[in-house]
């Protein structure tokens, strides 16, 4: 339709970025999924009919946690770098983020290997096994998805497809990674501190 004749005031017209809005919406939805799993975990603490119990088999994964949380810092620096157009710096910090995420996933793999083969705890052993592998596994799945995304972006950066003008999109993706890290704080607290 053509312009409407009289225009009373010409306000400046600014709208929020659609990428950011969508990512925040996705994070809200994901938070609800995690909430249900966390509630189930808490509800079933101590309700297993047989062993092993969390206290017998779980070690607190301090190193893993530190790695994952510092990856939030490194990605933040990478965001700043691309914003200022420093592509080399961006690439380095981005790669570091991936490495830290890999260490976390590797650590989880080692932990699960020990739990399964040494302690004999599987998802069907008892309620603790069911809820533990589901909740930690759900989070690990998110880390893996995040790592795939991070790696794709790294590859595209290496091939020169990601440039300074994409910094907004990079930041939107980074929101997801921050979310994955923040969820770990909750999972860590519930599983390794409260649940033990």
């Amino acid at each position: 339709m053509s312009a409407i004749p009289i225009s009373p005031v010409a306000e400046p017209w600014r709208l929020p970025s659609r990428g950011r809005v969508a990512m925040l919406a996705l994070i809200t939805g994901e938070s609800a999924i995690f909430t249900i799993f966390v509630v189930a975990y808490i509800f079933y603490i101590g309700k297993s009919l047989t062993g092993p119990t969390p206290l017998q088999v779980l070690d607190i994964p301090w190193f893993n946690t530190i790695c994952l949380l510092s990856s939030s810092v490194s990605i933040l620096i990478a965001e700043r770098q691309i914003e200022r157009g420093k592509m080399r710096g961006f690439m380095m910090w981005w790669a570091l983020t991936i490495a830290l995420g890999m260490i976390f996933i590797g650590g989880t793999a080692v932990e699960w290997h020990k739990l399964i083969y040494v302690d004999g705890l599987t998802i069907r052993t008892n309620l603790f096994g069911t809820t533990f592998y589901s909740l930690v596994g759900l989070h690990a799945t998110h880390v893996v998805v995040g790592l795939i995304g991070l790696s794709l972006i790294l590859i595209f950066t290496l091939t020169g497809h990601v440039k300074e003008q994409h910094s907004e999109r990079i930041q939107v993706f980074a929101l997801y990674w921050h979310f994955v890290d923040a969820v770990w704080v909750v999972v860590f607290t519930v599983v390794y501190i409260v649940g033990r």
Binding site: I4, E11, A40, Y44, T130
Partner: protein, 564 residues
Amino acid sequence: MADQTLPIAGSLDVTPQRLSRAQVLEWLHGWVVTVDHKRLGILYVVYGIIFLLVAGAEAMAIRIQLAWPGMHFLSPELYNEMFTMHGTTMVFLVGMTILFGFANYLVPLMIGARDMAFPRLNAFSFWMTAFGGLLIYYSFIGGFGLYGMGAAPDVGWWAYAPLTARAFSPGHATDYWALALIVAGFGTLGTAINIIATALSMRCRGMSLLRMPLFVWLMLVTSALTLITITPLTAAQIMLLIDRYLGGHFFDTQAGGSAVVWMHFFWIFGHPEVYVLVMPAFGIANEIIPVFSRKAIFGYPAMVAASVGIAFVSMGVWAHHMFTVGMTSVGNAFFVLSTMLVGIPTGIKIFNWVATIWGGKIRFATPMLFCLGFLFQFLIAGLTGIMLSVAPWNWQLHNSYFVIAHFHYVLVGAIVFNIFAGIYYWYPKVTGRMLSETLGKWHFWLFLIGFHITFDTMHFVGFLGMPRSIYTYEPDRGWNHLNFIISIGGMIQGIAVLIFAWNLVQSYFRGRKAGNDPWDAWTLEWSTPSPPPAYNFATDPVVHSRRPLWDLKHPEDPDWKYEA
């Protein structure tokens, strides 16, 4: 003003041509790969209407079986499959798809945008939802049951544990149920995200949040609610699949798991879900009632506030589905009161609709008729809802036909009525042709009469103690004639829906040409040609009030002079 659809109308050669195979394939291909919000909206609605007919046929089968005691129209196993599939289909494949289809088509047009925020995500979401529907219906042939034959899910749409455990539901039917809803759920999540991003980030110049059409507001609130409503179901179904496939114990009472936890998770989804369905229906009424009363909506800000209020309150009432499970008295009191609280924002809405109609110059066209039916029925549905929220009353009537009557008053009497109203209202925009008013009146009156025969009567069999989900009943219970009447009403509704389907098809070819703005309406979608071009608006519109087309048609008395 560009009032005709084409500047050269009549000069085109419109003699139908025989389409070649290649042309048909190309046409089909165009629909499959489309990312246009209008085409996707149409796909959603058509898909939903097809499933409406399917699930309607299932309801008919249920009603024939229950029409008289001792019937053997269906086998007991098939009966369970029928009511499970009827409920699941109506909620996930009919209600959700049609309403999100409306949103897809209308939200960008109403806010003066050229498309949704993420067109490809939009297409992806639709096909996910479509695939979910095919998956669950495939179970009729593929969901091998106990005896090696195809079996649809038969655990009720609520799928209570422990019936869903492998021991009690062998075969794959239940897995089809869970998987299909997870898949469709991701589609829904994608659409919800898309609608939020569109409404917040794609508005045309001047379209501030408080100038958005109320339909867009309601879709925004609904989508926000969807984000935290569908996801708990997805989570619970993942747990169910872990139990069934990996030997987990979430809902396994033998190993310390809890069946009640499933109920909580299901209704944490299930109750807000009914508001996810009803709020878009409110949105449709918000557009239609003012236009056919020739008045601006009464209490716009109150409507917005009430919608947000409903969304919030609806998250804290889920255990009113579980009063008979046994809760503490504090728990009972909490859920009684929180449920009653929903009555306040809902009451505000009903008041505002009535005030909009009050003193208006009412046009009783078919869209308005359906909306008036909605107003009346929604009021009654709300009242029976308040009755059911009283715990002692609920202990008496839970799982009876009174409950079935209550929620069908909402689902059919409010939501389906408004969906019909919306289709009569926007069909001219979508196709360029009016639906037949004569057939529309037949549809309305038959459906209204059938509706009341069926669902008014259900309240009474409920009072007389008839439980839901039963295969048949003894002849000496005093339910025979009432059930027969209910079934007759069901058939009348079935006939009405068939008239409607016929109207949709025949008006597409023979309906009166609609022009841009057949209802003399006020929102932006009516400023485009019917059907709108792929790009919607040739130039980006600018708006100055909640009724941009009013301003355009009445430059001497524009709305923005009066709006704060």
